[in-house]
């Protein structure tokens, strides 16, 4: 398979890599950079577990091919907290009881990060539209919804 040279910045660190032409961003993150916080649950963009932020937008990293991520600035779940200090969205998930098995959690958090970074005043319907794209099998969504609202409140009062 032909290799392609790509340059990406992940969590503020720059990487130059030779990737396969069909290699997804999810594979790059997990297999090459060992950033395993981003999860693979379907590999076809239906569940949201692999969501990362690319140039400010929440994207399904399992669907992203080299031409789409080459040259991008990428933020993953590992880059969100400031040392031991959790990001307010992370804090909200912990405090609201929004985490059970934890496999879907990073995806939810990254989607909300992109949403609130763009629009801290996102309406309930806008928040719902984002969360609707993610699957959680454990919590029944009630507490993820609570976490999203709590996160918004925390970010607005910062």
């Amino acid at each position: 398979m032909a290799k392609i040279k790509v340059t990406i910045t992940v969590n503020k660190l720059k990487h130059q890599l030779d990737v396969d032409e069909k290699e997804t961003l999810l594979e790059v993150l997990r297999d090459r950079l060992h950033l395993t916080g981003t999860k693979n649950a379907c590999a076809y963009g239906a569940c949201g577990a692999c969501t990362v932020v690319v140039d400010g937008n929440a994207v399904r990293s399992c669907l992203l091919k080299p031409d789409k991520y080459n040259g991008s600035e990428i933020l993953t779940i590992e880059g969100l907290a400031d040392g031991d200090k959790l990001h307010p969205i992370q804090e909200a998930f912990v405090e609201a009881g929004a985490i059970q098995c934890g496999f879907c959690t990073p995806g939810f958090v990254m989607s909300l990060y992109a949403l609130f970074t763009e629009n801290i005043k996102a309406s309930d319907d806008e928040i719902k539209a984002v969360l609707e794209k993610h699957i959680c099998r454990c919590t029944g969504y009630e507490f993820i919804w609570d976490a999203a609202k709590l996160a918004q409140k925390k970010l607005q009062t910062m």
Partner: protein, 777 residues
């Protein structure tokens, strides 16, 4: 009782790891020299394997080995040894593993599987359990009656029936002759997929021919150990099964799933760790499914509302390998009545081989299937008798002194169903029901539930406590954290028992069968109860040891000493106090010698008095613990489309003592939404060739945020169970049990239509509603 740590909403002890992406799951593990496996899977539901040619695959880049089942005589299973690690002479379901490629990368392994040529002779197949017991049905296991199996699991020769559980209380025919009202109905519970967010993964490495290391996404590392030991005739002590975090279990990662196959293929490349992580499609087609029941029920009652007799038959489509499902078949029989006292009861439950993926444990373990029937039938009987359903329920509830269908007398400490139903009614009926409008019919329904954990009589849990020299404690347990929150509740139980702050407690985050204490498996919602009790025993022993050491040091009898966590005081000498942490590694006296033993203790627990079901008549002391609860639903049904919208789901559960009320609440809501999925959206389907039609997230419809009802009520009722840790009992699976019948009863209330099958299909419902609601239009 006033507790310091139990009953408090402690934040999850695993939350920070999980929200920062640091929590490790099997697929995150990378080992030196690791190789990757991909599996070639059957495209036939049932076929004879005529030949396998892997010569082209072996030449592909990166390929180290191609393994098939040819010549393999290994069969595994916990109750019935009926499953080979890879198909040998025939395939029994589409998706069964036929050959494995081990290569340097997943992609190379995948590419090589496409070069393997398999010649099949297709055989007739069967998916429906009632078809599978017909005389002309294809026989799926010709050696059904010859398999090695545990006693008490009879098979029927030359049939697809691998297990039949029969249970009798009283004389059911006599009961029917005394009944004023008799109803008889048939029910269907579809095959479901657990769809844990984390697909199954396993890494196996053979260090020598009789020792291996396994990393697995399993709820049952000690069962994996036992089965692998048996497969290869090696000492169990040489098998190291390690479990990191589990991304959801719901029964689908017990007893075993892919681990025997991975252990088998890894043996062909000794010294190399071999990793297999299932794709989402494979998790559907090639791990385990759940439920899949067709049932018949007949129930009789007196005019005054006394339930008299119940006869029920359950036919389980258990898939290609029965081992995984046989205990589900039995458990269903235990609870066929639902939480009511019937004087006469007869149950037949059948485990039947079919050409689907193997069907095993799924959150609720036979109870949701039984309750679908018992809680719908109670609704129908009530209407026949002309009394309210809740009145009929209350009249017949199992409560203190009543005898259930297995013959056990219920104790007050088993919980209070009346209070649970009161709470659900209060939540559901607090406001008047909206009257039907031009768009919707509105309805409300309730259903009760009871559950017992299915287990072997000596199913036990262990705990090891090690005190550190700063007064903190390492506690090693083998209860698997799979999302249910056991790490947190066990932290609280340990903190309470050792009288220290939760920050001083560190529950082990990984399980390793060579270091961790024994645990039967993390199933049946039993971790809080059984591991909790084991921790309490280990803590009591640690405290006793500390008192003995202080006794030696201060020349005081142990009975004179009071343990208060960080300090030990004396009853007789108010000025005396001793710092507990000085005892951790044994006390170093000022004179320079050690006194007493280091504070390191073990504890164990199994539920005493549990036995296998009685031969012939079934039942007996086969159930170790009971939990009762009630659930309710409010729905609106579209007059135009028949679509059902759920506006309120409610549960009241008697959990004895909420160790962590916040965790219990999350668990209840998640479980109710799982019940919602079963009731309205989820169903595994097969095409005309017996191939699964919807093994993906797009077609197998899981509940999403928009499915969440506007209102969710969780009421925690606390009638302490004297056998549980601080009064707590089992609750994890329970909320999934009775949501489907509650929703169906609500649909009946709304539309007048009695449904007997799930998931509810709008078109069918609309057709049944016909011109309008009975007596209304």
């Amino acid at each position: 009782m006033n507790y310091k740590e139990v009953g408090k909403p402690l934040l999850r002890t695993d939350a920070v790891e999980k929200v920062t992406g640091k929590a490790t799951f099997v697929a995150d593990i990378k080992l030196p020299k690791m190789l990757y496996a991909k599996i070639l899977r059957s495209e036939y539901a049932h076929a004879r394997i005529l030949s396998i040619d892997s010569s082209e695959a072996e030449k592909m880049p990166g390929v180290r080995k191609v393994v098939t089942g040819q010549g393999c005589d290994i069969l595994f299973g916990a109750c019935i040894k009926d499953q080979p690690p890879l198909a040998v002479d025939k395939v029994r379901h589409a998706g069964e593993g036929v050959a494995a490629v081990i290569a340097e990368s997943e992609k190379e392994a995948e590419a090589a599987t496409k070069k393997i040529r398999v010649e099949y002779e297709p055989l007739p197949f069967v998916i429906d359990p009632l078809d599978a017991i017909k005389k002309e049905a294809p026989i799926i296991h010709e050696k059904n009656h010859l398999y090695d199996r545990v006693p008490g699991y009879p098979s029927e020769k030359n049939t697809n029936i691998f297990h039949h559980y029969h249970q009798v209380k009283g004389n059911v025919e006599k009961g029917f002759s005394q009944s004023d009202v008799i109803v008889e109905e048939e029910f269907y519970y579809p095959l479901l997929s657990h769809v844990q967010m984390e697909p199954h993964g396993c890494i196996a490495c053979w260090d020598t021919s009789d020792s291996c290391r396994i990393w697995a996404s399993t709820q049952a590392p000690f069962i994996v150990r036992e089965i692998i030991g048996h497969m290869f005739h090696i000492p169990l002590a040489n098998i190291k099964v390690q479990v990191p975090y589990l991304g959801g279990g719901f029964g689908g990662k017990s007893d075993v799933s892919i681990e025997p196959m991975v252990a088998y293929i890894a043996r062909f490349v000794p010294g190399y760790p071999v990793r297999l992580v299932l794709t989402r499609k494979e998790a559907f087609t090639s791990s385990l499914l759940g439920r899949g029941m067709k049932g018949k029920i007949k129930a009789g009652a007196k005019k005054d509302g006394k339930l008299i007799a119940l006869k029920a038959s359950f036919y389980y489509s258990d898939g290609a390998f029965g081992d995984t499902g046989c205990n589900v078949v039995t458990a269903t029989g235990f609870v066929a009545t639902g939480p009511y006292e019937y004087e006469h009861c007869e149950v037949d439950s059948y485990g039947i081989y079919t050409n689907t993926p193997p069907v095993g444990a799924y959150r609720g373990y036979g109870h949701p299937e039984a309750h679908l029937m018992s809680e719908r039938i109670i609704n129908i009987i009530a209407r026949k008798l002309g009394i309210s359903q809740t009145e009929l329920m209350r009249k017949n509830f199992l409560s203190d002194g009543k005898v259930n269908a297995v013959g056990q007398t219920i104790r007050k400490g088993n919980g209070d169903l009346y209070q649970c139903l009161d709470e659900v009614e209060k939540a559901l009926y607090s406001e008047p029901k909206p009257g039907d409008d031009s768009e919707y019919y509105y309805g409300r329904g309730v259903a009760a539930l009871m559950k017992t954990p299915m287990m072997i009589p000596n199913a036990s849990s262990g705990a090891i406590i090690k005190m550190c020299e700063d007064g903190s404690f390492n506690i090693s347990v083998s209860g698997i954290e799979m999302g249910q929150g056991c790490q947190t509740t066990l932290t609280q139980i340990a903190a309470e028992a050792l009288q220290v702050k939760p920050e001083k407690i560190r529950i082990s985050k990984e399980v390793d069968t060579q270091f961790s204490p024994y645990e039967w498996q993390t199933v049946g919602s039993i971790t809080t109860l059984r591991v909790g009790n084991a921790i309490i025993q280990a803590a009591e022993r640690a405290i006793q040891k500390m008192k003995e050491s202080v006794g030696q040091i201060a020349h005081k009898p142990a009975e004179d000493l009071i343990y208060e966590g960080e300090l030990i005081r004396s009853k007789s000498d108010k000025n005396f106090q001793f710092e507990s942490k000085l005892l951790a590694l044994s006390y170093l006296s000022p004179e320079g010698h050690g006194v007493g033993e280091p504070i390191e203790t073990t504890g164990h627990y199994y539920i005493p008095g549990v036995n296998f079901p009685l031969p012939d008549v079934g039942g007996g002391s086969c159930c170790g613990s009971w939990t009762f609860g009630a659930e309710g639903a409010e729905v609106k049904v579209s007059k135009k489309t028949g679509e059902v919208k759920v506006s309120h789901l409610a549960i009241a559960i008697d959990l004895g003592k909420a160790i962590n009320p916040m965790g219990a609440r999350v668990q209840m809501v998640g479980g109710m939404m799982m019940g919602y999925g079963a009731a309205l959206t989820e169903e595994i389907l097969f095409n005309e060739k017996g191939i699964m039609k919807n093994p993906n997230y797009n077609q197998y419809k899981l509940p999403r945020l928009s499915d969440k009802p506007e209102k969710l009520t969780v009421k925690l009722v606390e009638t302490p169970d004297e056998t549980g840790p601080f009064g707590a009992r089992c609750i994890a699976e329970h909320p999934a049990i009775s949501i489907p019948p509650a929703i169906m009863n609500a649909i009946q209330d709304a539309t007048g239509v009695d449904l007997f099958a799930i998931p509810v299909k709008p078109k069918d419902l609309l057709a049944k509603i016909g011109g309008g609601r009975d007596g209304k239009n």
